[in-house]
Amino acid sequence: MLEIKNLHVKLEEEDKQILKGVNLTVEAGKVHAIMGPNGSGKSTLSYVLSGRDGYEVTDGEASLLGEDILDMEPEERAAAGIFLAFQYPVEIPGVGNMTFLRTAVNAQRKARGEDELSAADFLKEVRAKAKTLKIDADMLKRPVNVGFSGGEKKRNEILQMAMLEPKMCILDETDSGLDVDAMKLVSEGVNALRDEGRGFLVITHYQRLLDHIKPDVVHIMADGRIVKTGGPELALEVENNGYADILAEEGV
């Protein structure tokens, strides 16, 4: 599904190398988790994959279903199937959440040559999906993420993901700032989307999220590289002992 080879990324504005050779393959139907200390480059990786400005790929490649994505515009990547649940969802005053969702869904359908969803069908779908995430009508009407609590913002990200039905879901610290109940809602939302044809890359600091969203593979990222890869037990090891031992072992 997602294939990243030897990816090197520096900041455009300053001479700072952030990703220093990331290799990672996420297969369809699998959940990969990335853990790692703050500042190791996890968010940068997710931004580079979704096409944010400000980064320069100096080496390596990234493809989705065999298609190079690094030259695509962010909206093309989205239509191709990449979705990033932001670590810090952006507030957009003046744009209603519902308008935003409908514009996004229909823009992607249009880009893929599909018919737009009728207003009625869209409404039916969004209501049903919002309900399972305990997102009420008021939240759908309000401007995107404006005045939302941390938990509401994260649930809103999952709602967008559910509506857009991407092929490759990247979740950047979706668990941060969530209480136990919200964590459960979000995890259920993600699990409902688990599917043979869909890949997940879950970035997190905590084992806690991985109790709910069971990963197939766990990677440890440090200083711009994947330094260790293992099964779910690797996350438990981090939970119990922190990163120090692993990093020392790998010579980082």
């Binding site: 096409g51 909206e75 507030e91 005053p93 935003f100």
Partner: protein, 426 residues
Amino acid sequence: MGLPDQKQTATEALLATLTMPEGGCLAAARKAALSRVQTLGLPGRRDEYWKYTRPDTLVQPDAPAAAVFDAGEAPMFDEFDRIKVVFVDGVFSPEESDDLSLEGISIERIADICDKDIHWGKDLYGVLEARGQDPVARPLAALNTAFAQDGVAIRVTGTPSKPVNLVYRHQSDSSDAILHHIVRVESGATATILENGPAASRFNKCMEVDVADGGTLHLVRAQGRDHERRAATHLFARLGKESVFKAFTLTVNGVLTRNEAVIELTGDDAMAHIAGACVGDGDFHHDDTVFITHDAVNCESRQVFKKVLRNGATGVFQGKILVKEGAQKTDGYQISQSLLLDDDSQFLAKPELEIYADDVACSHGSTSGAIDEEGLFYLRSRGVPADVATDLLTLAFLAEAVDEIEDDEIAGALVTRLEGWLARRR
């Protein structure tokens, strides 16, 4: 004390081209206005009040030509049930207008008010304009009072079932129109006036609005889309006790627009909201100049102005709140913001507060900014193409001003126009 030579010459040059209409009962008002023009002189480039907007083309004897623009879409407000009052190049057209009778409101041509021995209009025509000359001179408004060739007198006595729509058609490439309307809203009466259309190649419009105690007036105008048209408009309003006046202006295109609003809150607990949204591309200069005077207790005023500027367009905002002695519990709010879609465009703002009462809450703010890159990326990451996302953010920027319109259907119609304008520029 005479005028500086240059001003004197320019003023005489324009006056020489104008003929004062038969004044009838308004002759005295027109003559008084003419002498105001002669005393004040027409606006010149060195006038402080015209620091950001060059008045040259507004005062030169001949109106610069402006092509009539075929927008290829139905005129604004066409879908609304309304009473249409049509002016073609500044002249009332009975053929194109609706029957002007409606319960709760009377609409007459200015020229006809002298037919009656007693008419409220005789006490309003030129009166608020004259009051509005102090402390800042507005000679183009005085010129208007003196030479207006047409206009309507609207008196609201009840709650008319539909809005009055003043439609300004532009027909000749060289038309130079002067219109003067007077509006009196009686105690407890409520009405909505809509205005739309480019009117003329050069348009000088003045509207005097007198809202009696407990009256309410909504004014929504859409200034026409002809690219080369020029307009100088003045809105003078005097608000009585517990009265409400809400005005909104949408400006799309036009090479030069100067909209002045001069509002006086003279009765306690009155409310005035003056708002505007404009979008300009290229050769576009738009100036909102607002002067709100609080002269009563517990009044509220709001000024909300938003400008979207691209390809070297210029936006100007001069807004003042004057709180007179004794105007306690004044609530004055003023915001002016521009969204600059490129580095060539500019926004010049001069917000002012002058307060002589101690128990007041007044705030003002002015900002100029580019499109929010974070928001743009967020939208694009969801699959929204960059141009569509930019439009969404642009409309969102304008929303605070458009929200000032109380009627959702009217607001919706304006938003549709804005969407169209933006979409055509993708």
